[in-house]
Amino acid sequence: MALECIVKKEFDVREGEHMANELSTMQDVVSTLEAIVDNTRIFTDPEYLDRYAQDTSLCAAGRPDAVVKVLSTEEVQQIVKLAHEHHIPVTPRSSGVGFYGAGIPEQGGIVIDMSAMKKIRRIDKRNRWVMVEAGVTYGEVQAELAKEGMRVLNPLLAHSEKSVITSTLEREPKLTPKHHLDETILTMEMVLPTGNIFHTGSMAISQGQPEKVPDETHSDLCNFHGPGVDWFRLVPGSLGTFGIVTVMNVKTTLIPTQSKMVFLGFDKLEDCVEPFYHIERTLIGDDCFLLNNRYLASILAADAADIERISSVLPAYTIVLNLTAGEWYPEDKMAYQEEALHDIARTFLVTPLETLPNVPDVAAKISALLYQPWDNGTYWKFRARGASQEVFFLTQLQRSPEFLKVITEVAAQCNYPLSDMGLYIQPKQHGRTFHMEAGFPYDPEDSAQRQRIETVYQKVSEALVTQGAFFYRIYGLWADMVYSRTGTYHKTLKRIKRSLDPHSILNPGKLGF
């Protein structure tokens, strides 16, 4: 494919400025790339490229002109330098799966596939962190950390191919809603849009290999602030538009010595609100979340055919709470937490259950899944219908019934079968805020269903934004929908982008720049 197809696209944020192009054909690009990586890791075959053109989301496809599977930061750096010099779009990708369209190369160019960067560079048990490369998945890192009695903070049943770094940068909510474990990024090695390697936090003191910094300096890589700006906040949520993170050390926590799963079932979401707030305010438990019957059944069912039956016997909404204890007097800790929980239950006239009626071994099943990625065939959110479209945002818990009403009313107006809809509510920072997520399973092979789900997605999102739902992660159509309402916020982001990436080569188009 000729590179003209790349250069004709205007992606520079500076109006009227077009990219320069000295490399006139794809062959020129490939030749230059071959000087950087082995040509067996450069792909231009259209069929192969199609794998990168789409993910499981409803976002429009965008085929890259080349895919390069990299093995090191230096390779990423050289490719970005090349792209910077010749104004070629670059889209980074670390996971083997994508749900939100973030890794689709909207404007073509080069996809840098980092999924083969699989090294766990260093584990610091004393300071409770692990350093991973971009392609390391939850399953891979949890297996290594378990040997040390540790685990990373993980989202609810991540996909087995989901990269820890991608998930962290996308700010996927974690199951453990503790204040000090909400922001888990410590230091990062990044490739800036100019192609320069940049180290953040205390890693900045050395330009050497990240895992060697603690040996070569007097830093344990625990300071995540700075230098200059707080990259640990500016880069997450930017979908690779501000820089490509190749290595990161993240906080870990200890695997508990004792745990007990407790369930609180409710018929109405309104009834969950006060007990949920109180559980969080009293700081009990490690992991806590709420699922509706459909989502919980999607996890518990032995196979897809059983989802409906299990869903029908579960409470409409279930708060799942994992009480845990560590090394010191675990019985005492479990006892005071249980007592606090029962006080809350008495106050709000609910009954904490150690299992759920009509579902055998539910506590053991959930407990076994809690710190692991989904490893049971088709991804759990897709089990019911083959695909699912999510709409998620942050809210104060007290507003969650109001937003659920919006979601169900709009979905019903679109003739979506509400009994199929999943709901997941995840507290963050002991209840300062709650991630609220509605999942709409559908059959991707059925064009009518797909068309309907596109309407549901668009209309539900629009109604929620209008109602005041806070779309904190921006993907696809949410960029225009949200940023058109946020005054100068987007303009400020664009100014930062222009300063960091003057040719707008990194993942152009994703956030409206």
Binding site: N127, S202, Y336
Partner: protein
Amino acid sequence: MAFTEVAYKALQDIVGEENVSNEPAICQAYSRVQWLPSGVMQRENCGLNMRPACVVMPGSTEEVQNIVKIANRYQFPFIPRGSGFTFQAFPTAAGTIVIDPKRMDRIIELNEKDMYAVIEPYVSFVGLQSEAMKYGLYTPTPLAGSQVSCLANYAWHGAYGNSWITGVGAQNLLGFELVLPDGEVVKSGSMTCPGAGNFWNDGPGPDLRGFLRGGMFGHAGGIGVVTKISCKLWQFAGPEVFPTEGNANMKFSSGFGEDVWRWYMIKFPYKYPEEEELELKKSAELFYEMGKAEIGEVATHLAQQFLYTYSSVTKQDLFDNIKNDVFPSGFVVVALQAKTSFKQMEYEEKVLKEIVKKVGGIFVEEDEPAYQVWIKRAANEWIRFGNAQRLARPSDNFSIGSSNVDSIDSIVYEIIESNEVGRDLLKKEGLGKDFVQPLSIHGGWISPQEYGYWCLHTTDVFPEQEPEQCNQAIEIIGKVAKSQLERKSAAAVIHLLGPAYDIFGPMLGNVHLIMKDLKKEFDPNNLANPGYATRPDVLSQEELQKMMGH
């Protein structure tokens, strides 16, 4: 273009004649840098140039916005002021105006359920704390004192007595409203989305708090004026009113019920300062164990200098306490709070006792002088912090001698090494020999953050408020920092501000160039506190050498 009479009249039109002044006596009051030796030298070197051309007191974001637009129209520099503690908040060149937010002092929202408050710039910690406690919540407790501006503290630096739980300012800032250097207003977090509320920080998309702050510092007004923030509040077991008796500065006592709050002081059997390293390493062990167990509300190591300066009610008392060797070493101070229940606090006490035993620590008994002076007299001040001025008591002046952020282990290493350098400077060059606090280069404050995942430290020096001693203090600070960099400590990462960007930037991935690009993008005319976070232009070698010479 300089500040002119026309510009002055334009400011009067915005805020009203009564809220703007160019009276020399009033403006002179805004040129008085408190405390820090850098400020003393700034005063010495800048003289009357530190007197602002005028002081303007806006009453709203719109008025701030209009002031900034006028500054752009007439091309004069402006500096937003918080509580006026740090030398970066003062003019260094003629024709600069100071924006004083005294009229913007409202607590706009206090949300009990979602544990946050929305405040204007002149809300102090004590103001917010006293309101929050009514709802079973409280704020971090700043060492700068409860009288300081919450907003400035969170947007700027912020280090707290209860950082074990709360982290520093960066961790407590939620959303913000910022008037950019060109007068545009940008909001961050959920407050930028109509109808979403003020409860959350990151997004939509990238988190602009990352732009507002960097390292341990904010931009000191260099990218605009923060006019509103939402900030975290934390679980507090009570009581609803802080229990106090007596005069805040002199004889003062406060106490919480033993059912909600308990203090502990822990020492180690080592001779000080000869065996300081052992004592600090054992303290580190204690913190690591407490962190793994996730217990405690306060956990900090206080060096002798902190213990003496914070607990003494007068200068004479300070000297008497030193003479009587009330604090023969540094101590670990821990507090437990019954946030879940009384049983939870009892559980944590049981674990604490086991951990202290495991690491070889000794609980200070109630009849020991250290307990009587610290726990009885000063400990609750970590929560209230009405007496931050005590830190300047020895000499009416103080400065951080060295500072770093990293792991607890790294911090212990830094303290030992920095103190060694400081002692050498005293011994060989006589630097600091006349400082009023004779122990000033011993020990250090170890402040583990967020259950010990990271840690902050400072060691302090106490020169008198006069140029010779302040120059010595600055020389000590510079030489200690140089030694830190030579041994590849990560200290420079947190010290970037002003010319430090040009000095340290090249060894930190050329971050100074990134920051200068951002400054040029947002403040091309360099009007918003010129020079902060960094100047838009790169300093020449000559300029750098001149600065290093100082």
